[in-house]
Amino acid sequence: MESTRYRPLAAVREVLFILLALVWCIPFYYLAIVAVKPDMEVFTAPMSFPSTIVLGNFAEAWRGTGGVGLGEALLNSVIVTVGTVSLLIFLGSLTAYVIARNTQRIGGLLYVFFVVGIILPYQMAIVPLFSSLRSLGLVGNQIGMIVLFTGLLLPMAVFLYAGFMRALPHDYEEAAQVDGAGRGKIFFRIVFPLLRPVTATVAIMTGMIVWNDFFLQLIFLNGSSAQTLPVAMYGFVGEFTARWNMVFAAVCISIAPILAFYLFAQRRFMQGFTGGIKS
């Protein structure tokens, strides 16, 4: 067992990797120090350690901009994200079920239809999207955002679900059929629970996209009471001056929940990509 012993070389390697890992922490370091800097020092000495630590920055950032507090913005972000993800899971799994279990050509065509949806750049359609959503009264509120994101991300959800479902053995469904279950029951009682790993993947991937999106939320929510975290943060960036310490403090506040969620769901996340069904 000579090879498994802890040798000087292994120690060197370990130190190297720890240093490498530290590189990844540098942005967090700057995030933390800028967030607690006094206003002027952000411009005079942006990279240095703050001369005085101003924890009040967090309180001020929390008050938000444009009459929307960071707390409200956080709630708006949660509403939009949870709403979108729930709708995506429901619609995506059902659509993918039909596509994956359809033996006719239409199943394959529908699949291609959705995959094309992943490839097309939605930014090209932003002007017509804006005008049609505005005439529907869906600009500047959470429901409009949920509808928009669900439409944009459904192709990805369907793609992930369909891939997983194709590998799912038919036996469970056949057994349920023989056991006397109807179509709806087969899906919700048997198939959907078996999709749990990929449901977690869909939830995390789409959830992160929605949570982090800035472009669409700025266009559709700016100046409204429904503005979400990224938009609220952007409020600190004015026409003539940007209050970077406020932006950084707001970022600190906003990444906390997503970081907690990611640490909690990390294992599931991996499983969805790599795992299959274990009975």
């Binding site: 053995p169 036996d171 056949e174 057994a175 059929q177 023989v178 056991d179 006397g180 029951k185 274990k278």
Partner: protein, 407 residues
């Protein structure tokens, strides 16, 4: 409990392959019917058509006197046990067994009572709260059985339910399923590729090959009166010895000539099989391993074949003696095809083209055999003869070879 009747049921796919070809099969009320055959013979397709999981291309299938061709599986009132059990992994054993009852909209109380009843029959009481992944293979098998018996269906359909178990457990579950079926008296259709399972479990056996039903009968009927060389070779372990032979006329009547050795046929046998028509024609002779009598045993008048002993397998209390006959082995296209179906391993050896015909004899393990040539008695009363071209058994009326359709 109801009968299950296949009336000219066929299944063909878009590319023209016939998975099941005009299957006629009646399973009586309370009967345990085993469908057996090599892989790809259409037995599972036949079963899945009864379950409603596979469309019926033509013909009629009825359960309990009612044609079910167009019915959804859930409207057929049948229960199925799958090869890999298909237990719902996210449900407990209780929920798994209760699932079919839930669909019948029974009261919670009634469901609990019946699930517990089924669990008691199968010895699963203490496992009801567990998940399938925490159960052993045998226990999973029992849960699958529980899910089938709990709703008292018209028929059980079982698709190789024992093939995922180890050998010892398989023997145990074999007995258990048989006992359960006899106890509940539910019409059962059981599919397997294992002829030992078929022989031990079924009231009757249906042998299929390439989508065509070969023969239906009780295990003993199939063993003693196989209707063609496929059934003869498939049923019984070790398989029947099949040898090319000629029926020659002699002064006393007819004799069977195998590799130049002549065995005078008893007049009763010639009468019974109507062999006079086959005079001077080539036939295939079938001798079961237990009908080869070791040298020096049996009556002195027993006709004998001179065979070379090449080895022996001891499985006390019996042994299987490997013998060889110096002759061109049976190589008709249909015979080769059958060997491929019955024993793929042996088929791989065939092209090497030996000029000896292997035989196996079954006798007591008390005696040791030295390699060399010896005279082995042949119990001619138990001899099987088949047409050299068609492989059909000689002397069998057409009605006896049920399902063959004269093909």
């Amino acid at each position: 409990m109801s009968s299950v009747v296949y009336n000219q049921v066929s299944k063909f796919y878009a590319d023209g392959t016939k998975a099941v070809d005009a299957l006629d099969l009646q399973i009586a009320e309370g009967e345990f019917m085993v469908i057996v055959g090599p892989s790809g013979c259409g037995k599972t397709t036949a079963l899945r058509m009864a379950a409603g999981l596979e469309d019926i291309s033509s013909g009629e299938l009825s359960i309990g006197g009612k044609v079910v061709n167009a019915l959804e599986p859930r409207d057929r009132d049948i229960a199925m046990v799958f090869q890999n059990y298909a237990l719902y992994p996210h449900m407990s054993v209780f929920e798994n067994i209760a699932f079919p009852l839930e669909n019948q909209k029974l009261s919670r109380e009634e469901i609990r009572k019946r699930v517990e009843g089924a669990a008691a029959i199968l010895g699963l009481e203490e496992h009801l709260g567990r998940r399938p992944k925490n159960l052993s293979g045998g226990q999973r098998q029992r849960v699958a059985m529980g899910r089938a018996i709990v709703r008292r269906p018209k028929a059980f359909l079982m698709d190789e339910p024992l093939s995922n178990l180890d050998a010892k457990l398989r023997v145990q579950m074999r007995a258990e399923i048989t006992r359960l079926q006899r106890q509940l008296g539910v019409t059962t259709l059981y599919v397997t590729h294992d002829q030992v399972e078929a022989m031990t479990m079924g009231h009757r056996i249906a042998v299929m090959r390439k989508g065509v039903l070969q023969q239906v009968g009780t295990p003993l009927e199939l063993y003693e009166r196989p209707s063609n060389i496929f059934v003869a070779a498939f049923v019984g372990s070790p398989a029947m010895n099949l040898l090319p032979a000629t029926l020659a006329a002699t002064a006393d009547g007819l004799a069977l000539v195998i590799a130049g050795q002549s065995l005078a046929l008893p007049a009763a046998l010639v009468m019974r099989l109507g062999l006079a028509r086959y005079r001077d024609r080539q036939v295939i002779a079938g001798i079961r391993p237990e009908h080869l009598v070791p040298p020096g045993e049996g009556a002195a008048t027993l006709p004998a074949l001179r065979l070379e002993i090449v080895g022996s397998e001891l499985i006390p209390p019996e042994q299987l003696v490997q013998l060889e006959l110096w002759t061109e082995p049976l190589r008709t296209p249909s015979a080769l095809d059958i060997v491929r179906d019955v024993d793929p391993v042996a088929a791989a050896d065939l092209p090497r083209g030996s000029s000896t015909q292997p035989l196996v004899a079954r006798c007591s393990s008390d005696r040791a055999f030295a390699n060399g040539t010896a005279d082995w008695g042949v119990v001619l009363e138990k001899l099987h003869l088949f047409d050299f071209e068609t492989g059909k058994a000689l002397g069998l009326s057409d009605s006896a070879s049920a399902g063959g359709h004269g093909r």
